[in-house]
């Protein structure tokens, strides 16, 4: 009887684990192996040792893509969390048509990022300049996506538009865990308005804040669809995210080996950021 149970568990685990190893672990190892070669994606190749890694750190284009991706991830995370918190507080307060508002505010999240990107592309290219010219604004009279200094802002807006929906809903579920009597007790001690938020509400929803931070940073560091739809890395390579650069130059640019090295470094960065965030947020949680 006992053996039957053991055998069944093994028969479940082994094939599924094999599938996972086959399409996750093996490609990961192959990626690491390719990163030590000068493979172009086809034909023969030879070992180059740490050459790709050394080149990586002196490659201006790679450095630029890391700077861009981190700038985008940090700014978007801050913008998204501030707006979602305000929206969540409003959606959780006593309002009418609550479920209509919640349903509609979540809508952007279910739409495909690529198509959303295309729609906003049109908005930035035609609508915004037209609006700006009515208002007489000189700086906005051309598309912000065609200017290397402002293109990232357009991407930030599109990423935020979708991510705010997700984060708001998580903050709402956090706010619902705060019992009403905490506010009543706080009210007696004079905690109202912003004070109430700062000293009562926020400390109690820190776990949800951590979830949102982790989700945001990880998703934005891996940004791809929005870049594909809005700028394709341009203008002047100013909006190449790391994922986009790896895809673009690795798959069709003949840099299979070199971009594999980039991907390995990117992998290490993602792991480091995630672990750091978990360590940091583990410390700050407060229990009621």
């Amino acid at each position: 009887m006992k053996n039957e149970r053991k055998r069944t568990f093994l028969l479940i685990t082994i094939p599924i684990l094999a599938l996972f190893v086959c399409f996750n672990t093996i490609p990961l190892i192959r990626g690491v192996i390719y990163s030590f070669t000068n493979f172009k994606g086809f034909g023969s190749y030879s070992w180059v040792g740490f050459r790709n890694y050394i080149d990586l750190f002196s490659d201006a284009r790679v450095g630029k893509s890391y700077l861009f991706t981190f700038k985008l991830a940090i700014v978007t995370t801050v913008v998204v969390n501030v707006i979602s918190l305000i929206l969540a507080l409003a959606l959780n307060s006593k309002i009418r048509a609550k479920s209509f508002f919640r349903g509609t505010y979540f809508l952007p999240n279910i739409l495909g990022a690529l198509v959303v990107g295309y729609i906003f592309n049109y908005f930035f290219t035609y609508i915004l300049p037209a609006l700006a010219s009515i208002l007489g604004s000189e700086s906005l009279s051309t598309s912000i996506l065609s200017n290397p200094d402002s293109a990232w802002f357009g991407i930030m807006v599109v990423c935020s538009w979708q991510a705010i929906a997700m984060n708001t809903i998580i903050y709402i579920s956090g706010l619902q865990t705060v019992p009403e009597d905490v506010y009543e007790a706080g009210g007696l001690d004079g905690a109202t308005g912003f004070k109430q938020f700062r000293y009562l509400t926020f400390p109690l929803i820190i776990p949800f804040f951590s979830i949102n931070m982790v989700l945001c940073v990880k998703n934005f560091l891996m940004v791809f669809d929005q870049i594909m739809a809005l700028t394709k890395g341009g203008p002047a390579q100013s909006t190449e995210s790391i994922s986009y650069l790896i895809y673009n130059n690795g798959m069709s640019g003949g840099q299979f080996g070199f971009q594999s090295a980039n991907a390995v470094v990117f992998f290490i960065v993602i792991v480091a950021v995630s672990v750091a965030q978990m360590k940091f947020s583990g410390k700050k949680e407060e229990q009621l």
Binding site: I12, I16, F101, L107, F266
Partner: protein
């Protein structure tokens, strides 16, 4: 509990904020219905309602992007991937969840699979493109297999976490009745995990339906398209006919919008459960 009055500042803020969500959708709908001749360069030309609501753009967009084919591929990939995820991931979650506390092997496998969450697609993409081509899997079968692997870490984590709430006594009772572990699983445990199935199904379906990268990398060169991939691949064919392009965008958004309107509650619950667990 004190009955509070409607919070009007919050209402006003929410109504104003709503415009940022409605406006892009409004834009999509009206442009999709207009003719290029109606799109004068002035802002009012773009934003006014179309003179006649006709479906020519949609008919043309369906033809150009081979809409029904892409829709069929997207539906097929999503449905099969979700079905397989429910079966495979719940089984794996069960086997690992029940054993990881007392067995080194199972706790290692659990950690091994769950840590797969940190592996970005970017590092797998190039080797996988090669590997699927070598194995003859550069088609929708390969894409489905990859989804089953990619969402395994998250879903196994969710299932084995949920399993903690299901008492062992249930299984032991079935065992006394002479049921094998396998039958016990499908007859008792699988149905009990229904709330988690809903969460996993929603999360997997949304992620698979909207995914661009996997089909882009795996299906490149084949003439198969998913709905998002079709938008990408036919972008150049739309040229400057934005009305046609927007009709195509709207078409690709309609299935998920219908899904959302029908199962809004399940989707919201699923997304929150998945994130908070």
């Amino acid at each position: 509990m004190i009955e509070r009055k409607t919070n009007w500042p919050a209402m006003i803020l929410l109504i104003l904020g709503l415009s940022t969500i409605i406006f892009p959708l409004y834009l999509t709908v009206i442009i999709a219905f207009k003719q290029p001749s109606e799109m004068t360069n002035s802002i009012s030309g773009i934003l006014s309602l179309p003179k006649v609501w006709n479906f020519d753009n949609f008919r043309e967009a369906m033809r150009v992007t081979d809409f029904w084919h892409s829709l069929r591929n997207s539906l097929l990939i999503t449905l099969v991937a979700v079905g397989l995820s429910l079966a495979v991931h719940s089984l794996m979650g069960y086997a690992l969840g029940r054993n990881k506390a007392k067995s080194k092997f199972y706790s290692f496998v659990y950690l091994f699979i769950v840590s797969g969450m940190f592996v970005p697609f970017a590092i797998l993409m190039m080797p996988l493109a090669k590997q699927t081509a070598e194995l003859g899997l550069a088609n929708w079968v390969g894409v489905i297999l990859l989804y089953v692997v990619f969402y395994m870490p998250m879903n196994v984590l969710l299932y084995s976490g949920y399993l903690v709430n299901i008492p062992m006594a249930l299984e032991e009772a079935a065992k006394v009745d002479g049921a094998s572990t396998w039958t016990t699983y499908w007859k008792i445990i699988f149905p009990i995990m229904r709330p988690m199935h809903a969460t996993v199904a929603v999360l997997t379906a949304l992620a698979v339906w909207n995914d661009v990268m996997t089909p882009l990398v795996i299906l490149a060169g084949s003439d198969q398209n998913t709905l998002p991939l079709a938008q990408l691949n036919f972008q150049s064919q739309f040229g400057t006919n934005y009305n046609l392009a927007f009709a195509s965008y709207l078409l690709s958004l309609i299935p998920i919008l219908i899904f959302y309107i029908v199962c809004q509650k399940q989707i919201l619950n699923g997304v929150v459960n998945g994130a908070v667990k």
